[in-house]
Structure formats: C-alpha cells, structure tokens
Symmetry: C2
Subunit: 365 residues, 2 copies
C-alpha cells in the first residue's frame, strides 16, 4: 500500500480517534506530511511481516507540547539529522521508519522522514493509541531499550541519549524538548525487524487509515458515521470492541495544567434526562463514569466526538455546550496484559480503579 496525499485526511481522522483525546492535533501533521509528499511523492507502507529479521527500524515522533508545535515550525532538518545520527551510532543504515505512537499528530510524524529519505513506513507503532510519556509503550513493556535515542531541533542541535533506562530516558528527553523551545523531533527505541514483530502493535497505521475512511464514506453517503466507525474498528482485529458510552451535552469542564500535563474532567448531561457522564483526563481521557459508575478505563480508548460529524475532540478543545458522543474502543491485546497494565493501566496514572476491559463493563459481545 502507498500513502498518498489523498490518504492523509483519512489517516489523520483515524489517528485523532485513536489519540483518546490526546496525542496532539493531527491537522498539523497533515500539513507537514502534505508538503513532503507533494515534493517527494507517495510513501510506501509495508507490513511488519515483510521486514527482514535484521532490518533496522527507527520509530519517530515529536516530543513536547502540541500547542507549541503550531508556533515553532519544524524545518525537516531535525528529522534528517536524527536519522543520520542514529545511523552513525549503530554503524548501519536505517531500513524503515515507524510512528512511536499512532494517536493524534504523531501518527503522521514518520511520513516526513519517509518522504525525504525514500524510506518505507512500517504498518505498526509502539502504543496503538496515544500516551503522554514515551515509556508508556509496548517497546518498553516488552524490554526494548529506548537508547540510543536522538533528540533534534530545527536549529541543528543534535542530542544523543545513551546508557539510561527507559524512564530516565523519558525524563531527559522531556527536559531537552523544553530547552529546545517546547517541541523537538525524537528517534527512540531503534529496533530490528525481529524485535519489531515481537513488540510493536501490528497494523495500526492501516487501521487508522481504514477507520478514517469509514467515517468519511459514511458521511458522504449519509449513513450513521458512528456505526461505520465501530464496524471499521472491529474489522481491524486490533480494536476488537467499540461502542457508544454516552450521548449528551457538556455542562461542566474543569482543566488545569500541572507538571506539564493538562488535567481535568468534563461532565456531560444526557438530553431530556439528568443522567450524566464524567470523563477524567490527563492529556488523554483516562476514565469514563456514567452516573458515578466506571464504564471505561485506560488503556482502553475513550474519545469524545462531535455527535453530528463524528469528529474527535481533543481534551484541550472540550468546551461547555458541545453536543458530543463519548465513544470507547478496546485497547490492543498487548496493552491489556498484567505486565503492560503496570505501565499503561490506571495505577500508572495515579488512579485507584482496577482495570476491567471496556466490553465487560458494558456487556458488549
């Protein structure tokens, strides 16, 4: 499959949903990718199954505040510099790139490198959604080292991080991104084809594109975009359950910025009844409670969407009075295992709730 300029809208729409309210606005990722694809032509998307065991894969993404990315424009130099430095450190060529996370703007991030360097993008990522920190990744959960990692900015600054554990790496890279002006390009968790097959979330790029296309098609022919979304999610095999948690109007929104996170809660009231839903977020949506009862929990995907257009609304864009549907989807299996939940489950976000799969909480078959 090839990713063309025409594919970008669907990719962005799907990535926005998988971002669970976080991961940044994909609109900006579309603009960047569009410019590169217009210049260099389409990008090849390859299946993880087709990777040579010894192929070198470089996961790429932007680290920092999504709000800053709109003001501080990357110039492409940081992308090239990061990959070239990785090649110098490992003493070999990078064979393919991959998103570090599929949700939000970062899903589209590796398209810049892929187009510029004529590299294929692997149809996989390390989160199957968006998470706020780099160690919240299947690569980390399954024992891949984040190092050597390279953080670069458009002014030529190139920082190589080596020898630290994956948590220390996250702290250091975060500090560097702040010092670089709030946003930087990162290459991390470099891995071989064999390691990628064992540790990545397979098929997530094509999943994002297909669910984006399903919603677009439904809108074009005037059928229910939510039903189309759920069917497309289930068809991916990765997101095996999906459904509506609540339908209503945002009647209250609390939001504060603490420790670099956007933390808050949205209260949504049903139409014509006083039933309500509360969604708690920390960059991404973490918990949804209906009438005080938990009906979805991280790492399952919880996304608040416009109830007419089925557009995903990121947590920073939630506003009083918006008419929304709260939608959930099962997280990829790999994130639901016990050792994974320690890294990406409710406890990792300081929540007391015990993880229960969204399809069990809601009686979805």
């Amino acid at each position: 499959m090839r990713i063309e300029i025409q594919t970008l809208g669907d990719f962005a729409r799907g990535a926005a949903f998988l971002g669970s309210g976080g991961g940044g606005d994909p609109y900006y990722g579309v603009l960047l990718a569009e410019a590169e694809l217009a210049k260099h032509g389409p990008v090849e998307l390859i299946s993880i199954a087709d990777l040579d065991d010894h192929a070198i894969i470089a996961p790429c993404g932007w680290i920092g505040a999504p709000t800053v990315s709109v003001e501080k424009l990357p110039n492409g130099r940081e992308v090239i510099a990061g990959l070239q430095k990785l090649e110098a450190v490992i003493g070999g060529a990078v064979d393919a790139v991959m998103p570090v996370e599929i949700g939000g703007g970062n899903g589209l991030a590796p398209l810049v490198a892929a187009a510029k360097l004529k590299l294929p993008v692997v149809d996989a990522d390390g989160m199957g959604r968006a998470f706020p920190e780099s160690q919240m990744s299947s690569f980390n959960i399954l024992g891949v080292s984040s190092c050597p990692a390279i953080v670069t900015s458009g002014d030529g600054s190139t920082v190589l991080i080596e020898g630290c554990d994956n948590l220390a790496h996250e702290r250091i890279a975060r500090g560097i991104s702040v010092a670089m002006g709030g946003i930087a390009h990162m290459v991390e968790y470099p891995l071989t084809g064999r390691e990628a097959r064992r540790t990545a979330i397979h098929g997530s790029v094509s999943a994002a594109i297909s669910i984006g296309a399903a919603v677009r098609n439904a809108q074009a022919v005037g059928v229910d975009p939510f039903e189309a979304l759920f069917a497309a999610l289930r068809a991916t095999g990765t997101y095996r359950h999906a459904g509506t948690l609540f339908d209503g109007k945002i009647v209250d929104i609390e939001r504060e910025t603490k420790g670099g996170f956007s933390i808050g809660r949205a209260t949504i009231e049903a139409f014509g009844s006083n039933e309500n839903m509360e969604v708690i977020f920390k960059n991404e949506n973490l918990v949804a409670k209906r009438g005080g009862t938990v009906v979805a929990l991280v790492p399952d995907i919880i996304t608040i969407m416009d109830r007419e257009t089925a557009d995903s609304i990121t947590t920073e864009r939630l506003k009083y009075g918006q008419r929304v549907r709260v939608v959930a989807a099962a997280a990829p299996m790999l994130l639901r295992e016990a050792h994974a939940l320690a890294v990406v489950g409710p406890k990792a976000f300081g929540l007391d709730e015990t993880y229960t799969p969204v399809e069990m909480l809601n009686g979805w078959s």
Copy 2:
C-alpha cells in the same frame, strides 16, 4: 607541581574566594577529590605553556544546583563515562583535564577524572572565577564551540550534545541536569593545546592554591589574613588589584529563588556609624554599593568574608547578624574587554550599570 591531599584545603579556600559568593561550596569538592587522591595518588598540575599544540584538553565540571550535590552523591562513573564518550566522538585520547570554572566547588571537579584516569590537570580554566551559566566563559567569548559536550549521571546515562550554538548548549545541558536529578557531570568546550593557550584564563588553579595558602599561613602566624589575601592575589598577576570595600554587620538579607537562580541583596552596616553597603547577587555577587554609590561590578570579584577568619561566605549562607568584610578583586583582563563584557558584564545579568574597573571606582593604585 603536584596536587596532593594536603593541597586540597588551600585549593578549596582559594576557589571559594574566586567564586564571588557562588560556584557552590568547595567542601564537597574536597571530599570527592580526597577520596580519589587517597586511592590513586597525587595529580600532576601542568602549565598551559607546556601543552602540545595538538593536545586534547577536556574541561570538566558539575552542572546543576550546588545544594543538590550534597544529597545526590556522584559515584565517579559519570566522570569516566563523560571522558570516554568524548574520546569516542573525537576519535582520539584526551591528554589533560581542566576546570570549566575555578570558583567554588567546580575548581576541584577535574581532580576526580585526573586521579582516576592518571591525567594531568591544566593550570587554567574558562572563567577565572565562577559564573552561573556555561556560556559565561572565555572559551565562548573567544569563539570556541561548547560542542561536542557530554552530560552524564551516576546511573550510566550519557548524553552527547552536538551541533548547537553555545547558548542553546547551556539551555539543553541545564534541562538535562534537572532531568538527571539536579546535578550532573559535564565535559564541554573540548579544545586543543593551542586553543587553550589562546582562550583560557592562565594560571588560575595555582592562583587559587596560592591565595588559599596565604590566608592559612597568615592565620597560623597571627597576621592579618586579609592583607595576606590581597598580596597573594596581586602576586598571581591574574588578579591585579584587591582590597576591602566594607567592614560591618549584615542587618538585612533578602533572597528568593527565581528561574533557577538565587536572587537577592544583603545590607551591611558599618560598626559605630550608619554608613552601609548593599550587595546584590544572582547566585554570584554582582554589584556592591556603598551609601548608594557603586564601588564594584561584575565581572570583578566581590566576595563577602567572615571578618575574623577570612572564610568566604557563599550567597546561600549569608545570614542576619554575620560580621563580615566585603572584599573585591579585579577580574582577569580577558573578561574586561568589550566583547567579553557583553557576555559576562552587568548587562548580561540585566543590570543597568556600566562596567567600570574596581580599582578605578576605589582609587586603588
């Protein structure tokens, strides 16, 4: 000359004075160096004149909050890792180490690497005193690049910074040191023997040792330690003027932490008169005003000392009621040139005053 365990006390006392109230407490530097010298024997101090043109010199120091250094003990691994990484990057062996700054705790920093790796210490540094930021350095002023620079911590984390200008380097390294827990080892401004001769402050290590010894000897034989200090400073040829600015008791002290700096002012009242002196500091002492008139300005050295023992008091240890002498010394010539003052003069610290040499302000011959 060799630096032995017996030399460390004098070295620390001299470095504390040259720290101008900042640069961290040298006591900790003494403990670290003592342990290494006890294990590996004395360290050779070599003149900058004896360096081969192509010798590779690695300036070393600790970056971060001095207060943290006392709680987070280095283990020596960070020092070795930093120098080894530099050797790998430049593809050659390091021939000698050097302090990045001579003031405070960092004056003694390279002794750890020197003892462990059997390398000589060059009798020179990049500041001739202490400054709060790494670009406030003669290396930067005279066009040496801070990169490649390596920031390391005791847990094995190694971060290589390349390709950025010296100001961006400071911001990035500062961010990394915070992420590493508040203190880290840094190798920066690697330079050749020829570059070191052109850009370093010559003789500052032996200067620190000699002024420390002069004060110690004066105390031992019961003569005025301040006169001994001034004579020793003048004898270095680097600090050509020195004298007392004020003698009195601290009657007011304001201090706040802002943007990672300790900012404040001390008011000192003369004994038996209401004449007073105000010393304004930002980590280091920056301005001394007697009765509202400026009598010393950064980059000249301003140090507040115990009026009995002639011990230097760092800005974080200033307290109400301390009986002190405020002492000043001329900065090394290299820091007083116009292009240097743009980097280390009053304007670089946000002060309105125009720099005038301390000996002119006080009529010292």
